[in-house]
Structures are given as structure tokens and as C-alpha cells.
Symmetry: none
Subunit: 122 residues, 4 copies
């Protein structure tokens, strides 16, 4: 796991994004225990407070949960993970349609081009 950050957005937001990806991709499986905030922060070379903030937000969203004195864990609710995955996908899809529209392609043209592209690279 490598952590990289760009300067154009807050680091805590980028942390959230990366952690979500780790969960969605299954790299961090449901119910799995996370390293300590300190360790994670050291690993990512960020301030522990920043890491803490990211984890708190993820916890607020229900993606993580804390067991006092024992640590933080990934949610075991597969449904929730699935919903996150779908919701992130919807954001990407919306942005993609937006960009293609700026290029002058409407939704159906866009889909047709996507089909061709997928077929072409098989």
C-alpha cells in the first residue's frame, strides 16, 4: 500500500478516498482490524490528527466501527460496502457524462463509443 497526495485537495479527503478504495477493492476485508491511528499515520506520512479525522468521517458513514480498547474494524455489513461502491461509481459516471457532453457527445453516442472501445481492446 503506497500513499500519495496531491496538493490541490485536503489530505484528509484524499485519505478517505484511498481507504474507501482499499475497502471496496477488498484489500481490507469486512471485519478486519485496522492498524492503530498512529501506525496508519506513520505509514502514510501524515499527521495523526489528519488520519484521525479521516477515520472519524468514515466511521460516521458507518464504514468503520470502533471497539473500545480493542481497535477499529472494517464494517461487516457487505451491503453497505456495496452501496458505497455503487455510489462512488455513480459519481464517476456523472462526471464522465459531463465531460463527454462538453466534447459534444450525448448519452447514447457516449454509450455507443464505450461499447466500441470495450470491443476494440478485447
Amino acid at each position: 500500500m503506497t500513499w500519495e497526495f496531491k496538493k490541490d485537495r485536503p489530505i484528509y479527503a484524499q485519505l478517505i478516498e484511498q481507504i474507501e478504495l482499499n475497502i471496496i477493492s477488498g484489500l481490507w476485508g469486512p471485519g478486519e482490524r485496522l492498524p492503530s491511528v498512529r501506525d496508519l499515520a506513520a505509514q502514510a506520512a501524515v499527521n495523526p490528527n489528519t488520519m484521525q479525522r479521516a477515520l472519524s468521517e468514515l466511521e460516521r458513514d458507518g464504514l468503520l466501527y470502533t471497539v473500545r480498547t480493542s481497535g477499529r474494524f472494517i464494517t461487516e455489513d457487505g451491503n453497505m460496502i456495496q452501496k458505497l461502491k455503487d455510489s462512488l461509481a455513480m459519481v464517476e459516471i456523472r462526471e464522465f457524462f459531463e465531460k463527454m457532453s462538453k466534447l459534444g457527445f450525448d448519452r447514447s453516442q457516449t454509450i455507443r463509443m464505450l461499447e466500441n472501445a470495450a470491443r476494440g481492446e478485447k
Copy 2:
């Protein structure tokens, strides 16, 4: 025409991008004369040299041409504009597939979701 720049990429690159969009969208039609470098630079609030660099690169790609002492013009080669449009679209498509793949969706899943999204918003 509004010009906005982010800090994470060179301004000249963003200028190129925006100008390409202006051409593709037809806002600046084939054969049309551009404002002078100085005017464009003032409009975009960048240094004339930066605008000059962007225009030079676009000219190198054949999208613009210069008539000495008279000004710069959009290419009259509609074919070239079409090719640019397609090529920019291919970049977007590739990036989109890439992102969706990180989320765990393969090409055919992605396309299915796109179709649903397009249908859902009609």
C-alpha cells in the same frame, strides 16, 4: 468565455485544453480569426507569453494557423477538428474505464451501469 485555472497543472496546458474545447464545441468556428495574443492573454488574465506558448502548441498540432501581421485563425480542416474530438473522447473513455476498474467494475458491468444511468435520468 470565462477562463479558470487550477493550480495543479501548468496554465498553458489548461489554456490549450480550454481552447480545444472552444474549437470542438464550435464556439470558435473553422476559419474564424482569433483575438490577438495580447487580447486573449488579457482576457484570460495570463501573461502574453503563456498564451503565446499555448497557441504555438496548438499551431504545431495543426489546429490553428498564423497569417503574419494579420492574426491567428482556426483551421478550416473540419476533419482535423473531428479527429481531435474523437481523440479527446478516447482519453476520457480510457480514464473512465480505469477509474471504474479500481472500483471493481469490469468493462461490461460499467457499460451496463451507464445504460441504466442514462435511462434513469430520461
Copy 3:
């Protein structure tokens, strides 16, 4: 290495030409590291930006490549160097035929004179 410039053409163009000659002649061999932009500029007594422009264009043509924070290097693709050599030669040949034609010599006459000249000086 001496750098000289005439006033009738842009300096950056003359820089490009001289550097190409350095590469073709093998004075700067494939894979070799160039001096820094600043050093080259000082050596040639031009502004660093001007040298930078020349190098950028050469890089765009694939004759050089940059390793961030480490420096610029001559391409290791001997084929590309050979192609450059041939292409520059073709330009010279074309111009030469052109001039001789203005003097009233056609291609075959020109070649015959060249053969005589080469023989005469042996």
C-alpha cells in the same frame, strides 16, 4: 564546443541545429548526459529560457529525454539519430539541387560536376 549565432534566424533555432550536429557527429553520444540547462545557457551565452526552448523542442522530437531532477540525456535510439542524419542530408540535397537549378544545371549535369569536383581534389 563553440557557439556562434547569426542575426538572421532565431537563436533557439540555431541552438537546435548546433545540438543536432553535436549528436549526429557523435560528439555527444547516445545516452550521454547533457550539462544542465543553466550551464549550457551560460556556455552559449544565451538566456536559460532560450536554451530551454531549444532543448524542449529536441525532446519533443525524441532526440533527448528528461529524467526529472537528474538531467537531460541524448536518446539511446541509434536508429533515430540515423534518421535525423538522413533527413538533414535530404534537406541539404534538395536545397543544393535548387540552387544549381537556378544556375541552369539540371540534376544529371549537377551530379556530373560533383563527380568531377570530387575527383579533382583527391
Copy 4:
């Protein structure tokens, strides 16, 4: 006949060159009478003194001759014109060999490439 001058060399030298080309190419035939210095100067948009200087040098070389009260004429000595033609050609040939040598081609390689080029464009 159009007259064009670059700034990097004296105008009178460029006048000489152009006039020599006119004679060699036969545009101005042997024995033909030239327009007056004043007219030539006006035509070329140069100072009459400059034109005068060019003509004097050409006369010194024997390419022109003056008949008092009647005007200037192209030499009728075809031999001389031929010699001029050859001598200008030799200059071109020498320069060409020089340039090709800088590119790394020796005389025989150069000649072979010229033959190929001439054949290729037929």
C-alpha cells in the same frame, strides 16, 4: 523581376548576385541593353548609388560594359558567362560538400545519395 533583400548582407552584394543570376539564366541576354541606373535603382527600390556600385563591380569583372552616352550592356562574350556560371557552381558545390561533411558523409557517400535522390524524384 522581383527584388528582395535580406538584412544580413550588404545590399550591393545581393544586387550583384541577383544580376549575375539574371545573366546566367539568360533572362538578360548577351548584348542586351540594361535600363538606366536610375530606373534599375527605382525598380529595386534601392539608392542609385548602391545600384551604381553593383554595376561597377560587375563591369570590373567584365560581365557588363559601358558605351558612353548610350548605356550599359551585357557582355557578348558567351565564354565569360559560361565561366561565371561554372565558378558560381563551384562555390555551391564546395559549400555543399562542406555541409554534408559536417553531417558525416564523405564525398563518395554524398554523390551516391545525390544519385538516389535524383532517381527517386523522377
